[in-house]
């Protein structure tokens, strides 16, 4: 069986810097894969490259058998890969509802004439967009709905901004979601809660997930499989236990045993 996402000996260089070197990687449908690695290991670059924001120097990325190399980011999203950003990048002056509505752009099609003539097709689609948006926001409990819907994203607390980022990615109706440090900046309680939600993203919504995370509790709790990157290369791969006990990984994290925090 072929993998959902398959990456073959892929390299990215910035000037002289090899951000990713000869990387092989794959995700199967329904998997949750954790990506870990010290700062500057190339994790975010890895996501940027899958989502088309960075063009690989060499190698191939295939999603459902189709090569994504040379695609614009919007085409990648259209194919079914959504992402969040490590440094939360919401549309700060759009309302929370609009943030989620706008990311359904590639799944909807009404154009100028529909909106000018206010056709029934247009009204129906607007209605559907809104309903879908509210359903997605409802996934996070009462936090992002109700009076929040009409508030600008900029008034949200840090944790809520992260949640809205995930909601925005969910709204693009993807098959694969890339989460870049989803719990960074959250307190332990919120982390636990979000960890649970990430599990539900798979069990209830059917998304396949790759997440980058520094919080090892989260990685341990949700990942089926863990990949550790360092200096743009795969250091180790396997279950959380295998990877966290791998001497090379411990070495990369400056000799700190990974379970210390647990």
């Amino acid at each position: 069986m072929s993998h959902l996402l398959e990456i073959d000996s892929l390299s990215v260089t910035f000037g002289g810097l090899h951000a990713l070197k000869d990387l092989d990687f794959h995700v199967d449908e329904g998997e949750i894969v954790g990506v870990i690695g010290p700062n500057g290991a190339g994790k975010t670059t890895f996501f940027n490259m899958i989502s088309g924001m960075v063009t690989p120097t060499s190698g191939d990325i295939r999603f459902e058998g189709e090569s994504l190399v040379g695609f614009d980011p919007n085409q990648v999203t259209q194919r079914g890969i959504a992402r969040t950003f490590q440094n939360v990048r919401l549309f700060a002056n759009m309302t929370i509802l609009e943030n989620v509505m706008v990311s359904q752009h590639c799944r909807t099609k009404q154009g100028i004439w529909g909106s000018l003539l206010n056709t029934s097709g247009f009204r129906k689609e607007e209605q559907e967009i809104r309903e879908h948006a509210e359903k997605v926001l409802g996934f996070f409990g009462s936090r992002l709905v109700g009076f929040r819907l009409e508030q600008p994203a900029s008034v949200l607390s840090y944790a809520n901004r992260r949640r809205l980022e995930i909601a925005r990615a969910m709204a693009t109706s993807p098959k694969l979601i890339l989460l870049d440090e989803p719990v960074a900046g959250m307190n332990p309680k919120e982390s636990v809660e979000l960890t649970e939600l990430i599990g539900k993203l798979r069990s209830e919504w059917g998304f396949t997930i790759v997440l980058i995370e520094h919080d090892m509790n989260v990685v341990r709790d949700v990942s089926d499989r863990v990949v550790c990157l360092d200096h743009g290369e795969t250091l180790a791969q396997g279950s959380f236990e295998e990877v966290s006990n791998d001497p090379a990984v411990i070495e990369a994290y400056l000799g700190r045993p990974l379970e210390k925090k647990a």
């Binding site: 919007n74 002056n93 759009m94 752009h105 909106s115 409990g141 008034v155 607390s157 693009t172």
Partner: protein, 616 residues
């Protein structure tokens, strides 16, 4: 200290003197010096002297003096003004603030006095054309230099002190005084307009122009009485009532307001004279342009500095299709058609040109895009001017004899500005409808997302190139409305009708009015084109037209510093520009994150870090 002991008299003067020592003298002198520089600069532009012939109150006051001496008044007011910080009581205003205003005014006036003295000593007329005796005489009130030197200092000190003393008055009195002053000045300045609107009003004015003093006093008293009796309060209350409305009640109010304003717009041109009709027609044409540019700049965030290109394409396409004088090289079969037919072709043409210019440009971002569009704006004009296309567009001679737009029942032509206005009104309604619908659609949201963060919009599945191109094309088509009407209105068009200045003025309208806000755009066009005048069209203040660019520039700088969100702010834009303050306020009110409290995160304390991150 010796000064203090010498002047000890009554208790009050004692306080003033002690107050004077508390004043921040360095600051006052500095502000005074800035005022002096402003006054000297303004005098040397020649504007006040040039406006001296325009009498406001016969025979005492000319527009020239008003246009110069408002400055010490305002500076005096603002010296005594202070920002009240949240949670701090405002310091009580006292006589020392008046002293401060007077000092600043005097220093400013000293600048003018110095100018009067220096004009006869040095001759630097070469770079400064207004460095001459007539400026000197104007500043000396035609009474000789020594009188002028003293009078300037005294007058400016007085005005500065008066400005500051406004703070001492009770709120109500202050508003009454200010509105009385403004009313007199406005009634005097808008003389020709008011007489044009309502001929009977001419009894207010003397034969040689200017308010008759008695009536000036009456107007002032009337305004004073109106404010004191609470007229202003009631208007303010109605407004805040309206602003708090939501839902269906608001929709109802909106409908009533819209119907009323449309009715007013239909009726006004019927009762006014030609001058006002012409003015309204010009405002309308620029409103059309501004509405189009608002989609491009305000909604999609594409800074297009060459927007005039589409106006030109619209104008020339209509001209070529309707005029018999269109240039000899057009082939035999090329049709001449009535205006409405030409108009439809124009829309198509503008859309195509928008696509053609947009396609290469739209992949650029920010500053690069601005510069390139600036270039395209000029290229289009120069093409129309060029020898190469001379056979088609007659180069600098332009296309003349453009027939009026004939609609069977009535004609739209330049000599009948009312008909032009009605046509413009129809198009403005269409443009407003288009803007309003698109803003609330899938496309409008995509435009906003692109404006907020282009790369994220792209990552969220929006084809940013297509979406931006769409904004460009819609903008181009809306601009061609204006071009087409313009052709029919003026009857002859030349490359010089489409200077880069037009782009800039449209952009200024959008910025000054309030980006992304339709009401703001309307206010912006009325204020800039209606009152100050368009690039070639005179406004209500026709006297200022020579100094229009100076005023535009000053207005723009002031706006960027004080009110970057525009005259009529869009809530969204306002937030964007005052984000820090907004977050600060929200924090002070402790309101930012109440949703988390009803969940399980009451004690999580993420409020403060989240805010700190946002506000820093």
């Amino acid at each position: 200290m010796t000064l203090a002991t010498e002047t000890t008299g009554t208790k009050a003067s004692n306080e003033v003197v002690r107050g004077a020592f508390d004043l921040d003298w360095r600051d006052l002198i500095r502000t005074g010096a800035i005022l002096a520089a402003g006054l000297v600069f303004l005098s040397l532009t020649g504007m006040p002297e040039g406006l001296d012939s325009r009498v406001l109150i016969d025979p005492f006051l000319s527009l020239g003096y008003v246009s110069l001496f408002w400055l010490p008044l305002i500076v005096g007011w603002s010296v005594a003004n202070e920002k009240v910080l949240e949670g701090m009581a405002a310091t009580r205003k006292s006589a020392r603030d008046v002293v401060a205003g007077g000092v600043v005014g005097a220093v400013g006036g000293a600048g003018l006095s110095l100018l009067i003295a220096l004009i006869s000593t040095f001759d630097i007329r070469d770079p400064l054309v207004n460095w001459n005796e007539s400026t000197q005489a104007f500043l000396s009130f035609q009474q000789g230099t020594s009188f002028g030197i003293v009078a300037c200092i005294a007058l400016c000190a007085g005005l500065g002190a008066f400005g500051a003393s406004l703070h001492l008055m009770p709120r109500k009195v202050r508003r009454a005084v200010v509105s009385a002053l403004l009313a007199v000045v406005a009634v005097a300045i808008f003389e020709s307009f008011l007489v044009d609107v309502a001929d009977p009003l001419s009894f207010l004015y003397s034969k040689t122009g200017g308010l008759i003093p008695l009536w000036a006093v009456m107007v002032g008293v009337a305004a004073l009485a109106f404010t004191l009796l609470g007229g202003g309060d009631r208007i303010g209350k109605a407004r805040s009532n309206y602003q708090t409305l939501t839902g269906p009640a608001k929709a109802k109010q909106d409908t009533i307001l819209i119907v009323l304003s449309v009715l007013a717009l239909i009726i006004i041109p019927m009762i006014t004279g030609k001058i006002t009709q012409e003015l309204l027609a010009n405002v309308g044409i620029f409103l059309l342009l501004a509405l189009g540019l608002n989609i491009v700049v305000g909604l999609a965030g594409i800074l297009d500095l060459g927007y005039v290109a589409f106006f030109a394409v619209g104008g020339y396409t209509t001209a070529v299709l309707t005029s018999p004088n269109r240039g000899p090289d057009w082939p035999e079969w090329f049709p001449t058609m009535p205006w409405w037919g030409a108009f439809l072709v124009t829309l198509l043409m503008a859309g195509l040109v928008g696509l053609f210019i947009g396609a290469p440009v739209i992949r650029m971002r920010g500053d690069y895009l601005a510069i390139v569009t600036l270039g395209f704006g000029e290229i289009i004009r120069i093409l129309f001017l060029s020898d190469w296309l001379n056979g088609y567009f007659n180069g600098a001679q332009g296309i003349t004899n453009i027939p009026p737009a004939d609609f069977g029942l009535f004609e739209v032509k330049g000599t009948d500005p009312r008909s032009v206005f009605y046509l413009v009104l129809v198009f403005a309604a269409i443009s407003i409808y288009v803007s309003w619908r698109l803003e609330r659609s899938r496309l409008g949201r995509a435009w906003m997302a692109v404006r907020e963060d282009e790369s994220v919009a792209e990552a969220m599945g929006i084809n940013t190139v297509n979406v931006k191109l769409m904004a460009f094309v819609v903008g181009a088509v809306l601009a061609s409305f204006a071009g087409s009407v313009f052709s029919a209105k003026v009857g002859s068009i030349f490359p010089t009708s489409f200077l880069i200045l037009v782009s800039i003025i449209i952009l200024v309208i959008v910025i000054v009015g309030g980006m992304g806000n339709i009401v703001g755009i309307i206010v912006g066009s009325v204020v800039l084109v209606g009152i100050l005048g368009g690039p070639k069209q005179p406004g209500l203040l026709a006297e200022f037209s020579e100094y229009k660019l100076l005023i535009y520039g000053a207005l723009l700088i002031w706006m960027m510093l004080q009110r970057p969100e525009g005259l009529v702010p869009n809530a969204r834009r306002s937030r964007e520009l005052h984000q820090d303050e907004f977050l600060q306020d929200a924090w002070l009110k402790g309101k930012v994150d109440d949703a988390d409290e009803n969940g399980n995160g009451a004690e999580n304390g993420d409020v403060a870090p989240g805010l700190a991150g946002g506000a820093s």
